[in-house]
Amino acid sequence: MPRTSTVECPGCPPIRALTFDVLGLVKVVESRGKQGIPKVIERWGEPDSSRCVLAASINDRKDDPLLAVARKNGLIEVLNPLNGDALVTITKGGDGGLHVPEDDPIAGLHLLKKGRLESSSRLFTLLTCTKKGNASLKSIGITNSLSGSLCTSPKTWSISAVGEIFCSAVDGSENHALFGGKGVEINVWDLDKSSKIWTARSPPKNSLDIFTPTWFTAATFLDKEDHRKIVAGTNNHQVRLYDISAQRRPIISFNFRESPIKAVTEDLDGYTIYLGTGSGDLASIDMRTGKLLGCFVGKCSGSIRSIARHPELPVIASCGLDGYLRFWDVKTRQLLSAVFLKQQLTNVVIDSNFIGEEVSGIVVDPLSNVEQETNQTQVNEDGPPPVKRKKASKESEERKKPKHNKKSKVKDKDHSTSSPLLKPKRKSKKSAKDKDDDGS
């Protein structure tokens, strides 16, 4: 029998996401209410292919949030993510840029959350990195007069002379940044001193004596607090885990499917990552063991360019070349809803301060629900003696996640967890158990 009705998507918790596409449009997608259907609320900018967004970064603090957007024509715009007003526009030529934007587009852009110079609240710091490996760190202040902006002299340095930079990331404390790309091994820089502190080594030749050339396409820090663990995806569909304190070669390295890893995003719990590939596969992986937790299936047919994790709700957003913005439940890996945004999307960021309802009382509900659940699970997990838990650890994978959510939320918990990843693979299950003990 042909199906007559379409499959219903269960709808989203209140969420606000901003997407960026190849025509330089910024679209704001919001879902309101408890199980709302996300809709496009606003569209900023006029369609123009030269304004194609290459990178975007959001600083979603409570007061005065900022959104930085890097465009193809070399402009970096700083917007207000609430109403889309352009606060500052930085042309690359004007600010001590040494290069022509056409042949050296921006590959990475990060809006640092804490100001490097604490002199005024309207000051922010921007880390940019171009494809040819020129990184620069500049502090820009917004004066109250609209046009005027003062810019301190940028700190620039060159990451590598050869190769192209494809990915970059900044850790939670914002003292370290990593870069990687085609012909560029993953390297970690200290932003304060702007000096390189670590470089990866390429893995040895394989059994057939074939050396695969370096080509990193996505990378991130595994944990927000810890700058030592790095997950990187390569163009030949390999996922690698590096530990700076241990060795220069990857600790874990495994293949995922058969198309290049295009997006890697870390979870809040510090060991789960989300992968997006060039043929539209989205999966979550436990990096302690390198095992696949599960795939996010749902007619996703275009390459995934960007994944964003909501800092509180168990939701991720993914977007890519098929023009859909999709929201997924992290725990059940169900598609919550999909929004068709007409263009090929390049980036998505989530505005975490969004309150779904005008009445703020309702909005707290999903959060408190999650917390209640986590409390329950904690009670459950505290019940059985630790010997039994080792067996149950696999089944309780699902239940573990919310608890770790809470862990990251309640930050006064000590994270003295000795890095369990350093242990060899065989013990990984045990290390998982260790982590459990810490969390509960």
Partner: protein, 352 residues
């Protein structure tokens, strides 16, 4: 078995005509496939079929009569019923292009094909094959060369496709077509738009070459007109523009040559025709000639201008397998669209 039931029936109803009708209904309800004896089964089946046929004829007659009466009385004839097909009960697709979508047009202006479609540059096509190539492959290519103006065939040799892409870029080609042959039969078409993508991979099937078409014509070297039908969704629109960019955008109407890409249920049918307009007075419409493809004319029994078609060939069917962002790169390529088995949730879901 049947007899027993009949008896029961007559006991209950007991009136002449009503009884018969009831019996008939009962018979219809009882499936012939439940009868185990083959002879009886086939007899019942034949009877059922005959009844159905009669009924259908009756219905048709009634409908025709109603229409005729309505015409005589000068009323509106009863509305013609539209059969339900897979296409017109297609699942709702939000990606279907709307004519008032300004973002769509902005996207069109920005895409890779716009320079050709705005006639800023003329298409120049390189046609090559897979490494091994024999019999039907070259024949197909020679026909492709006659269809697509400004197409050049290059021997494949043992070059890598990526090298060929580089070469073609430097020689200002705008597209590469690779005809892939398997078991001496062309079975795939890889079309690469230069200089920077996209790359489409089509499955090719039902290839009928020109010489195998009865009463085929031989095409002239005029630039053909292009007909693209039913490319509705965003992906379909893109594929349509993709195909359009293979052909020059200034058709020579004197050539009266049409190349058709007709999309139906995600299959793209290719046909190549010559047409002619003729003024003719026809005695009566030749109603038996209802064949869609070789339809001789619209049957209007007056002196009329009619269009006649002659197929030039070849015919083939394409089905999109993947659309890749950028030029050919199977290992590191990013796909804009790939067909995955999990997408086939329904027969009524189409992507183009």
């Amino acid at each position: 078995m049947g007899g027993k039931r009949k008896k029961g029936e007559s006991d209950v109803v007991g009136v002449g005509e009503g009884e018969e009708e009831q019996q008939q209904q009962k018979k219809r309800q009882m499936l012939p496939s439940l009868i185990k004896n083959k002879e009886k089964r086939s007899a019942v089946h034949a009877k059922l079929k005959h009844e159905k046929k009669l009924e259908k004829r009756k219905k048709l007659k009634a409908r025709d009569a109603a229409e005729k009466r309505a015409l005589e009385l000068g009323e509106e004839p009863p509305p013609k019923k539209i059969p339900r097909t897979i296409e017109n009960t297609r699942e709702f697709d939000e990606t279907v292009c709307k004519p008032d979508d300004e973002e769509l047009f902005a996207g069109n202006d920005a895409d890779e094909f716009s320079s050709i479609l705005k006639r800023e540059c003329t298409p120049k096509i390189l046609i090559t094959t897979c490494r091994f190539n024999s019999t039907r492959g070259p024949a197909f290519i020679s026909e492709l060369l006659s269809i697509i103006p400004n197409a050049h065939y290059y021997k494949r040799g043992t070059y890598d496709l990526k090298k060929i892409v580089e070469y073609a870029k430097s020689k200002d080609f705008t597209s590469i077509i690779v005809v892939h042959t398997n078991r001496r039969e062309p079975d795939a078409l890889l079309i690469i738009t230069l200089p920077d993508g996209p790359t489409a991979h089509f499955k090719l099937s039902n290839l009928v070459l020109r010489k195998d078409i009865k009463n085929h014509g031989n095409p002239t070297s005029h630039k053909p007109e292009l007909v693209l039908t039913n490319f509705t969704t965003r992906l379909g629109h893109r594929i349509g523009r993709f195909i359009q960019s293979l052909f020059p955008q200034d058709p020579n109407f004197r050539g009266r040559r049409v190349v058709t890409f007709h999309n139906q249920r995600d299959f793209i049918f290719f046909r190549h025709h010559r047409y002619i307009f003729e003024t003719k007075e026809i005695k009566q419409s030749n109603s038996d000639d209802k064949k869609f493809k070789d339809a001789k004319d619209e049957k209007i029994p007056q002196e009329k201008v009619i269009a006649r078609l002659q197929e030039c060939g070849p015919r083939f069917t394409l089905k999109l397998i993947s659309l890749q962002h950028g030029t050919f790169d199977t290992k590191g390529g990013e796909y804009e669209w790939v067909h995955k088995p999990e997408m086939d949730t329904s027969r009524r879901r189409f992507f183009l």
